[in-house]
């Protein structure tokens, strides 16, 4: 049974380990990181990679694998850390993050990262790509699912809604979207910059199964995923309510930490807070 409480606890702990490793990797490079968006999506990516996904690290291109499109490609740092943890990416590569000729940078490159299904970084492209993957899966009578990570600011791109229309038109119930609803984008609050609400109703109007969850609650993530398996010919969107920068007090809910580098004092504090969290789960 997936939602077993020890599994949930383990995944919660894992999500903080992934945050910690992200901070260590990014600060080793020292040129900054999209901390806000990486930390808000930590539980969702952890639940996907360490529980939900049907993937084959030893054979990353396995035709039956579930696909993941990190449409909000700037969340790449934590994604790379997770792919390394899963064995897709050699752990040594994490020391090359953002450096000259590295496979791992600010945005994922499918030609350089084993286990990465699509190159992203320019916002608003991923859902269309997922539509193609999902249609291809239907054509091949394959059972794989296509998971997409969207930022909430990213939803302001019109192309997202073209793809949303197509996914429901083609009855792509094999698509599962997670929206990282942290209420912030680059310049500040989504609702002040270009309001997205009523967001759930927008997706519903586009013909999607729609769920809203606490995006830092592993149990809710797993349950929401389970409910997407009840096929009703509709694509699925899970609006994950999150806190940008979650896990590091001075980053939480602070739009200025969309992208940044820490000074040594901040780094010490951040690592300490994350380690403390991990220790709490170990007790």
């Amino acid at each position: 049974m997936k939602s077993d409480s020890s599994i949930v606890r383990e995944l919660e702990k894992k999500s903080y380990e992934m945050r910690l490793k992200t901070a260590i990797m990014a600060e080793e490079y020292g040129g900054g990181c999209h901390y806000g968006g990486c930390f808000s999506i930590a539980e969702v990516l952890t639940a996907l990679y360490f529980n939900i996904l049907n993937i084959y690290p030893e054979n990353p291109k396995h035709p039956e694998r579930d696909r993941v499109v990190l449409s909000a490609g700037h969340k790449d740092a934590i994604y790379c850390v997770i792919l390394a943890e899963k064995g897709f990416v050699p752990k040594e590569w994490l020391h090359t993050y953002n450096k000259l000729d590295s496979h791992l940078g600010m945005h994922p490159d499918m030609k350089k990262i084993p286990g990465c299904d699509m190159s992203t970084g320019s916002l608003g492209h991923g859902l269309s790509v997922a539509v193609g993957m999902a249609l291809s899966g239907k054509l091949d009578k394959s059972d794989y699912k296509v998971f997409v990570i969207l930022g909430d600011g990213e939803l302001q791109e019109g192309s997202i809604w073209e793809a949303a229309m197509a996914a429901s038109h083609y009855k792509l119930d094999n698509i599962i979207v997670f929206v990282d609803r942290n209420m912030l984008e680059f310049d500040g609050e989504t609702e002040k910059i270009m309001a997205l609400e009523p967001l759930k109703e927008k997706w519903q109007a586009f013909g999607w199964n729609t769920k809203e969850i606490d995006g830092h609650n592993i149990r809710e993530i797993l349950d929401a995923y389970e409910s997407c398996l009840e096929k009703n010919d509709k694509p699925n969107v899970i609006i994950a309510n999150t806190t940008k920068g979650k896990g590091v007090s001075f980053m939480e809910n602070n739009w200025k930490w969309h992208y940044g580098g820490m000074n040594s004092e901040q780094e010490e504090k951040a690592l300490k807070e994350l380690e403390k969290k991990i220790n709490e789960y170990s007790m």
């Binding site: 490079y29 040129g31 490609g73 953002n98 450096k99 000259l100 000729d101 590295s102 940078g105 600010m106 945005h107 490159d109 190159s119 992203t120 970084g121 320019s122 916002l123 608003g124 600011g153 990213e154 302001q156 791109e157 019109g158 984008e185 680059f186 310049d187 989504t190 910059i193 270009m194």
Partner: protein
């Protein structure tokens, strides 16, 4: 001496500020006197530095969220109503994401929209291919009615932005990311005219025709080669379109080799524009230095400049190799 460049800030400030910060301050200065200026952004206003204008004149600043095509179309709409619309985002998105809006909604009706694109070339470093803007000049240069300017430094950025307002019609101004090197040190006064190149140095053997960041690197290359007894001129070709044919023909006649230098693919940008002129008017050998026909790797902007042969040292080496 803290010489005043204009009323808004001192020259001492200019030296510290990047192209885009100067752009932000220039916009505020222009907006104070010209109430017809509106500024549009797409969730990068604090990066493009149009945030200065947003904070000063919130009623004339519009953030469209992450929606470049929408923003570009709205800029066209503003311009049809007599406004001067300044639009900013990263160069990759200004030229490619909103490409058809730029061409069909702005250039085709010849509307008064000023696109100021930041983080051009390789200046996004580890942002990678999605954020490197290495094709933008080729793209926007091909649009009829479009004027294309690449300032060499912060001082020239201010001049270009002011000149763009004076000129009716669409203008694309390409800016970098960091504190760009000052080419025009000591406030060297010069008359900035769109379409009129600036001869920084003349040379009998070779003439480097450079644009943007590469003007600074070309000066270094010229100094290196000068020490080896090669007389190398440097032209700052700040306007890519309309290109200064007269200056190109002059240097084509007076030097043995022309070398174009740009932080852009060798296809379609400054190199191509210069070749178009010389091949028809005054055939001469042209070496195009720029980014080869590849998707660029990640690294710091400085490392990438070195990788693709765009530092003064590498430019000099390349020229020595073919002379």
């Amino acid at each position: 001496m803290a010489e005043k460049v204009n009323q808004a800030w001192t020259f001492a400030d200019v030296a510290r500020l990047s192209d885009r910060e100067i752009y932000g301050k220039t916009l505020v200065s222009l907006g104070t006197t010209n109430k017809n200026i509106v500024v549009l952004g797409s969730d990068l206003m604090y990066s493009n530095r149009t945030s200065d204008f947003l904070e000063k004149f919130p009623e004339r600043a519009f953030n469209f969220g992450v929606a470049e095509q929408n923003m570009m179309g709205a800029a066209a709409g503003f311009a049809t109503c007599g406004k001067i619309a300044f639009v900013s985002t990263f160069a990759a998105f200004a030229s490619m994401r909103a490409c058809e809006q730029v061409r069909t909604d702005i250039c085709y009706p010849n509307l008064n929209v000023k696109i100021v694109a930041t983080h051009s070339g390789l200046t996004m470093g580890s942002g990678g291919t999605t954020h490197h803007a290495t094709e933008d000049l080729a793209i926007v240069r091909s649009f009829a009615n479009m004027t294309v300017i690449v300032p060499a430094d912060a001082i020239e950025t201010e001049k270009a932005v002011r000149a763009a307002v004076e000129q009716e019609g669409p203008v694309y101004i390409r800016l970098g990311r960091a504190a760009e090197r000052l080419v025009f040190q000591n406030g060297y006064p010069y008359d900035f005219k769109i379409g009129r190149a600036i001869t920084l140095k003349s040379g009998k053997d070779v003439t480097l025709i450079a644009t943007g960041l590469e003007v600074y690197e070309s000066i270094i290359a010229s100094d290196i080669l000068g020490k080896k007894g090669i007389d190398v001129g440097v032209i700052n070709m700040h306007t890519i379109k309309p290109i200064d044919q007269e200056t190109i023909i002059n240097v084509a006649q007076s030097s043995k080799l022309l070398v174009t230098v740009e932080e852009h693919t060798v296809i379609g940008g400054l190199g191509s524009a210069v070749c178009e002129v010389v091949s028809e008017k005054c055939p001469v050998r042209v070496l195009r230095i720029g980014i080869p026909d590849v998707y660029t790797v990640i690294g710091s902007p400085e490392e990438l400049k070195d990788r693709y042969g765009l530092t003064g040292v590498k430019i000099a080496e390349k020229i020595l190799n073919i002379l």
